[in-house]
């Protein structure tokens, strides 16, 4: 029982990382209807920015806020410069643009900040929480930030006119345009928010996995998996999906003898595909109904 609890808690801690990424993935999906493959690299870039600011002597929280704002601006800029001209191109052409962006950002952050692994400070400390070995302060802080972020997003999308306009623009661009919503800018805003969330996620993840240009790749895979598992149309579902992926991965590694350690990623993905067989639009997702 002790082992089970320990593994579940460890899974939750990993899951918080995946949940943050899954949340960013879903945000951009709601805004533009695509998965952004470059999301992880955008987030890594943000984390490097924060590292640079802190290295120059900026206090942590000031750097944090600055990076969130810069990430937001960067996300909007990428949408305006790169993806607006492509918005009539086929989905697959846009996919190539995502892959290109991935490649450019990955290579650029390696070039600017080189490939050596860097430590990243945590504002929460790393002491065990409540004197138990199950979870430390940083992990708890990470889960806390993700939950707060989710709360803010919920309020933003349900409670403000801008949030409503964004949902409308993503859901039905033509009708939204007819009622006076500037759909193009809503998309750019979606990119900005997703970039900012990705930046927050990366700054929380960096102390755990250490900062290097490829740090987000694995995380992004799990984040995608979590988002798809939870349902791409549901931010709350994505966060739960992220936590679920973390827990499944850990439990599979511990309890399935023989294959355990080596194949835990494979098993996690298999579980997800199996879930998708039963619920093809994710656990909390709405399945799209189209008019013929």
């Amino acid at each position: 029982m002790e082992l089970l609890l320990q593994q579940v808690m460890a899974g939750l801690a990993n899951g918080a990382i995946y949940a943050g990424m899954a949340l960013a993935v879903v945000m951009i999906f709601l805004a533009i209807d695509h998965l952004n493959f470059a999301q992880g690299e955008m987030a890594t870039f943000s984390a490097y920015f924060a590292w640079q600011l802190i290295a120059w002597g900026t206090p942590y929280w000031l750097a944090f806020v600055a990076v969130v704002i810069l990430s937001f601006i960067g996300g909007v800029a990428i949408e305006r410069v790169l993806f607006k001209p492509l918005h009539n191109a086929s989905i697959l052409s846009q996919l190539v643009a995502f892959i290109a962006l991935f490649s450019i950002l990955n290579s650029a952050s390696g070039y600017i900040w080189d490939y050596t692994i860097k430590t990243f400070p945590t504002p929460f400390g790393t002491k065990p929480l409540f004197g138990s070995v199950l979870i430390d302060a940083h992990e708890a802080g990470m889960i806390g930030v993700i939950v707060v972020l989710l709360g803010f997003l919920y309020l933003f999308f349900r409670g403000t006119r801008l949030g409503l306009a964004m949902r409308a623009a993503a859901h039905n661009p033509e009708s939204a345009r007819l009622v006076g919503i500037r759909v193009g800018w809503m998309t750019a805003l979606g990119w900005g928010i997703a970039a900012a969330i990705g930046g927050v996620a990366a700054m929380l993840i960096a102390p755990v996995v250490f900062l290097d240009p490829n740090m987000m790749f694995g995380v992004l895979l799990y984040g995608f998996a979590g988002a798809v598992l939870g349902g791409l149309t549901s931010p709350g579902g994505a966060v739960l999906g992220g936590f679920a992926v973390g827990i499944i991965e850990n439990l599979a590694g511990t309890y399935i003898p023989f294959v355990g350690r080596d194949l835990k990623l494979t098993i996690a993905l298999l579980v997800i595909v199996a879930v998708l067989m039963v619920r093809p639009a994710g656990v909390f997702g709405r399945s799209a109904v189209s008019r013929v």
């Binding site: 998965l35 790169l82 001209p85 492509l86 191109a89 086929s90 697959l92 052409s93 996919l95 190539v96 643009a97 892959i99 290109a100 962006l101 991935f102 490649s103 450019i104 990955n106 290579s107 650029a108 390696g110 070039y111 895979l221 995608f224 998996a225 798809v228 791409l232 023989f258 294959v259 080596d262 194949l263 990623l265 494979t266 993905l269 298999l270 997800i272 595909v273 998708l276 067989m277 093809p280 639009a281 994710g282 013929v292």
Partner: protein, 346 residues
């Protein structure tokens, strides 16, 4: 397959005729193909071994991309996992040759058959999933394959992390060409047969059914096309093509190891497919060229920023040729004729 309702499929050649290009076009196309073949025969006598190897590799990638194209371009199903089928085909060849001593040319049908079977099995769950969800499922295959290949229980077969060294096929002595040249021609022959097969498949009734499902599955179903059957079979055939390419790849590289078949390979295929032109057969070869040469060119321009330059080139191609290399001539022609019309009006 001979149920009466199948006969109501309305995609007959006659129905296509109004939009088909004038009759001179096929003749031009045949001449162009003959010309391309002639050009393709020459390189082994002009270049050194390494260039011949690279060109062989271009054809192999082109074939793999053709497999993906049958699935994505003609049937509308996404796959981010075709590197897995490529890897499977490569390993089948390597294991049959090195563990069981089977001649290299017999391993190709075996690789194709095994990949076809696995592809069909994979196509079954894929029936439930669409778009991004299908992408995730195929993605799982791409991530899982290297791990399975490294897995210690299979090490007796797969050689684990070390992989397997594959002997290069020897050229028949009466031809007086070296092994690289022989492999080039062998690959060319296989690729040619496979391309002709694909061209015929796409033109056939089954090909039209595949495309009808891509364009509108509900409409296709209501016309009596058995969508699940065709989608599953397309997945199988697509895997077969990519698997045979993988088998040829193992012969060309003379080595297979788990990490050669990572997610990046799958993504490269996808990039090659899109930049070459979705739904175009010759475009696949352009895709092969891109996948092989552009990363090298990028690395030559700048070592440190190779990835960034690769990305920028990708973006340029997408901005200049939104419908891929295959659609480019048509795009240029359209632009030119529009320009001419405008001049006439002035």
């Amino acid at each position: 397959m001979t149920t009466p309702q199948q006969d109501t499929v309305p995609f007959t050649p006659a129905a296509e005729a109004p939009t088909a290009p004038p009759a001179t076009r096929p003749a031009i196309r045949h001449w162009m193909m003959a010309g391309a073949l002639l050009v393709a025969v020459v390189p082994p006598f002009l270049f050194q071994g390494f260039v011949v190897f690279q060109l062989t590799q271009v054809m192999i990638y082109g074939l793999a991309i053709l497999g993906l194209n049958l699935l994505t371009g003609f049937n509308g199903q996404f796959s981010v996992g075709h590197g897995a089928f490529y890897g499977l085909g490569a390993y089948v060849t390597a294991i049959l040759m090195q563990r069981y001593g089977i001649a290299y040319y017999w391993t190709l049908p075996a690789a194709g058959g095994i990949c076809f079977t696995v592809g069909c099995l994979f196509g079954l769950p894929a029936l439930r999933l669409q778009g991004l969800y299908l992408a995730l499922a195929t993605f799982a295959a791409a991530v899982a394959l290297p791990q399975l290949l490294k897995f210690h229980a299979f090490e007796g077969w797969t050689g684990g992390v070390q992989g397997i060294v594959v002997e290069q096929p020897n050229a028949p002595t009466f031809l007086h060409i070296d092994d690289d040249q022989w492999l080039y021609y062998f690959t060319m022959a296989v690729v040619l047969i496979m391309f002709v097969g694909a061209a015929n498949l796409v033109k056939s009734r089954s090909g039209r059914a595949m495309m009808a499902i891509r364009d509108h599955q509900i409409a296709a179903t209501s016309m009596g096309i058995n969508a699940p059957l065709y989608k599953t079979l397309t997945f199988g055939v697509s895997a077969l093509y990519t698997g045979v390419a993988g088998a040829l790849g193992a012969l060309a590289v003379q080595f297979v190891a788990p990490d050669s078949f990572s997610l990046f390979l799958s993504i490269s295929f996808l990039v090659g497919l899109i930049l070459g032109g979705i739904g175009s057969l010759p475009g696949c070869l352009f895709g092969g060229l891109f996948v092989l040469y552009v990363p090298n060119i990028a690395a030559e321009v700048s070592r440190g920023l190779a990835g960034a330059i690769y990305g920028v080139i990708m973006l340029l191609v997408i901005f200049v040729m939104p419908s891929g290399a295959a659609g480019f001539p048509r795009l240029v022609m359209a632009r030119l004729s529009r320009l001419r019309n405008r001049n006439d009006q002035l």
